[in-house]
């Protein structure tokens, strides 16, 4: 009959004199050491992915990966990347012997809705870690919530510099790469293939991610000798980019860089090709189009138009390392098609969280965070990877890809043209593009 009444902040205990509540003895005030400390034989993880809105398919793929990860953590299935993971503390008996359970929510790709569903998972379902998401706005918003709530946030697909830059949080961790890394990896390949004397024209989605992507790729290409003719912001809601594309014809630009994602990218690329940009010859050079961040799932919407277009990606199923092969096999066998980069990062994040708990031997977010900070691992598909302590960003090789000319199947859209080594994409934690925020102190909640 103890612990019937507990008082805590949404996520953290307020120091309250409970004298005001002169209640019978069934009420006791028992503070946990941290938010949603698992009691009993199970632990609950919260997977917050877009289930409606334009990124719903990516969200669905993330959810598949999460389910697979939970299966593997609980010792079902073939174990996937657990076999190739450099850390061997996970034994397929859940996390610290507690069976892994999960709850899901719909972010709707809106920061409000995402926070609401994350809150419900924390408040109602007792989730101790939140993961998932397919856009940076949502990632930053949910990361802020998790910081205040005192749970760990293992972000899904988020590519903006801000997530581990000015909006970084002690309780938040990002495995996915970022805009700076895309620029740093892509620029040398572009220079190699298209020369160092190029004039670039940028179309940029007019919101935070678009801006950091533009800033990054612009800096990286200019460092190699390219000039930037113009950078033009396009409304997020735009579906017809013709009025942004035709002005390019008037300039002497010979490269178009589309800092667009998802539907924006599909439409702007399709339409740019329709306008014959790729058939143009400017300054005696073939006109080229570049898409700095590829999403294979969504790029299918652009059909043939992606052929030969360079971009970058966090991971691709066609990689030949053991980790990737194990994951693709396990995922492909279960669902019948290869996983997307979003699925991969979500799967890996779940494993990394579980592993950190197991190594720390504690679910306390501060202990988990400490175990993740500065942790170096391998065997999860990206080669040797470091979770940097200073900003909770993973540092690993980045893939430069190109739209494949002769795809063998509907999944075979991209080919990896270069694996840019991690050193080339590493930056100082106080790099100007990432400056302005601080991790703060880790918050265990209650």
């Amino acid at each position: 009959m103890s612990k019937l009444l507990t008082r805590r902040g949404l996520l953290k205990t307020g120091a309250i004199g409970s004298a005001g509540l002169a209640m019978p003895t069934i009420f006791t005030s028992a503070a946990h050491a941290f938010t949603n400390a698992p009691t009993g034989g199970s632990v609950t993880l919260g997977f917050n992915v877009p289930q409606s809105g334009p990124y719903a398919d990516e969200g669905a793929d993330e959810l598949r990966a999460f389910q697979l990860a939970v299966e593997h953590l609980n010792g079902d299935g073939d174990g996937g990347m657990l076999q190739t993971f450099s850390s061997k503390v996970l034994e397929g008996n859940g996390i610290l012997g507690k069976k892994v359970e999960y709850v899901t929510g719909d972010t709707q790709t809106k920061s409000d809705a995402a926070r609401a569903s994350a809150k419900s998972m924390i408040e109602k379902d007792g989730a101790i870690m939140i993961s998932g998401g397919s856009s940076s706005g949502v990632a930053v918003a949910v990361q802020g919530l998790c910081q205040e709530a005192g749970v760990i946030f293992m972000s899904g697909l988020t590519h903006s510099n801000d997530t581990t830059g000015k909006d970084k949080k002690a309780n938040g961790f990002r495995h996915f790469f970022n805009a700076y890394m895309s620029g740093a990896a892509l620029a040398p390949v572009l220079a190699k293939n298209y020369g160092t004397d190029r004039k670039a024209y940028h179309l940029t989605a007019d919101y935070t991610w678009g801006w950091t992507q533009e800033e990054s790729i612009k800096a990286a290409t200019e460092a190699l000798g390219w000039t930037t003719v113009n950078t033009v912001r396009t409304p997020l809601a735009a579906t017809d980019f013709s009025s942004y594309i035709t002005p390019i014809l008037q300039t002497d630009a010979d490269v178009l860089i589309l800092n667009h994602y998802g539907g924006n990218m599909v439409n702007s690329l399709t339409q740019a090709v329709q306008f014959g940009l790729r058939d143009k010859v400017v300054n005696g050079k073939q006109f080229e189009i570049v898409v700095p961040l590829y999403s294979r799932l969504m790029a299918r919407g652009a059909g043939e138009n992606v052929k030969g277009i360079y971009g970058s990606t966090n991971w691709h199923w066609s990689l030949q390392d053991e980790g990737t092969k194990a994951f693709v096999k396990s995922f492909g066998t279960k669902y019948g098609f290869p996983p997307s980069q979003a699925a991969h990062t979500c799967y890996v994040q779940t494993l990394l969280y579980a592993d950190a708990v197991a190594r720390a031997k504690s679910f306390n977010p501060c202990d988990v965070g400490a175990a993740l900070e500065g942790y170096e691992f391998d065997g999860l598909g990206n080669g040797k990877t470091l979770y940097r302590a200073a900003d909770h960003q993973c540092f690993k090789d980045v893939l430069v890809v190109r739209g494949k000319e002769n795809p063998q199947s509907e999944f075979d859209l991209l080919e990896v043209v270069e694996v840019t080594p991690v050193d080339q994409v590493t930056y100082a934690p106080d790099h100007p593009m990432f400056a302005g925020g601080s991790l703060g102190a880790c918050n265990p909640g209650a």
Binding site: P247, L249, Q250, T270, Q274, G301, N305, V328, Q408, D412
Partner: protein
């Protein structure tokens, strides 16, 4: 100068999409007095007619190719569309290539049927209900339709290319003896523009020169009087609903190569098409068309760099700014009639 010509072309092209959607919406507004929030969904379903036909034509049988492997290392399943095996690879491929134009034929009966079912099954019960109720029920319907599409086609955009013959651009500059490769415009967008012009002209001609159209126009002007004349206006209105659905659907089919369809595209167009219709003036078909082109051209000009650098963000809001200014200067939009949806 080149830039301005190109932006006018862009504006007319955008405008023709707006005008086509607004035209159907106004037909429903004007004839039936129904605020149809599901009209965007009809546009979207039209686009998915193109996707569906493409999928049907691509129905394939699989053969195993042991020399190649799929992503799991199993022998690759090579898909051959039935049409290619029936008509030979060349003809088959050509049929698939032309799936979007073919989808126009496919979409007309489908859309008319959907329109009939919608009107008879649901909308007709709402003629005498407040506009608010009409909004709620058609919005509910729009959600249901798009969720069904999402369930069967997924949320991502689906590439629906135009035939190869229309790939590439027409060089206006070279035709006029100017520098080549400056004033160029994609063939498919020109086709879209011409198509819109034909449809708009067709609808107007139909309303202007047929007895049916005359009755409908009379009904738009004064429904009760026409009813008193003993003309069964309801049946005609059902047909008009079917026609409006077909117009929206065809607009969607033709738009598919420009904007790869996804289940959400109807909602994206919904608000915009309402603005267009209202700016044109409630109940006025020419107004809707005029407003569509006007807003399309304004939007194109607003996205020019020179103007954007003058007023940052103007391209984000130009449609709404224009709508506000027009509605404040002209109380009933460009060509609206008095007393239509003013209370």
């Amino acid at each position: 100068m080149d830039a301005i010509i190109l932006q006018i072309l862009n504006g007319l092209d955008k405008g023709s999409a707006y005008a086509l959607i607004a035209l159907g919406l106004t037909l429903i507004f004007g004839t039936l007095g129904v605020v149809n929030f599901a009209h965007g969904a009809l546009f979207m379903i039209g686009a998915f007619c193109a996707v569906t036909l493409n999928k049907i034509l691509n129905l394939s049988f699989e053969t195993l190719d042991p020399t190649r492997t799929d992503f799991l290392g199993n022998p690759l399943k090579v898909k051959t569309p039935y049409v290619e095996s029936w008509f030979g690879p060349d003809v088959g491929a050509a049929i698939i290539d032309w799936s979007v134009p073919l989808a126009i034929l496919f979409s007309i009966p489908v859309m008319i049927a959907i329109g009939f079912i919608m009107e008879r099954g649901l909308i007709k019960h709402f003629y005498r209900r407040p506009h608010a109720d009409q909004i709620l029920v058609t919005f509910g319907l729009a959600i249901v339709l798009q969720e069904l599409i999402k369930h069967y086609f997924g949320a991502n955009q689906i590439a629906t290319p135009a035939p190869d013959a229309f790939r590439g651009s027409f060089d206006f500059g070279a035709m006029l003896g100017l520098d080549p490769n400056v004033i160029i415009y994609p063939y498919w967008r020109l086709v879209y523009f011409a198509f819109a012009a034909v449809i708009i002209g067709g609808v107007f001609a139909f309303l202007q020169f047929t007895t049916f159209g005359m009755v409908v126009r009379a009904g738009m002007a004064d429904r009760e009087t026409v009813g008193l004349l003993g003309i069964n206006i309801d049946r005609r209105f059902t047909i008009m609903f079917g026609i409006a659905a077909a117009v929206a659907g065809m607009a969607g089919v033709m738009y598919a190569p420009i904007n790869s369809p996804n289940y959400h595209m109807g909602m994206d167009f919904l608000v915009l098409s309402f603005v267009v219709v209202v700016v044109g003036g409630m109940g006025s078909l020419p107004g809707a068309v005029l407003a569509g082109f006007l807003l399309g051209v304004l939007e194109s000009f607003a996205s020019m760099n020179a103007i954007k650098s003058l007023i940052p963000g103007i391209d984000q809001i130009i449609i709404y700014v224009a709508a506000i200014i027009i509605l404040l200067m002209r109380p009933r939009g460009l060509m609206g009639r008095k007393g239509v949806m003013e209370d």
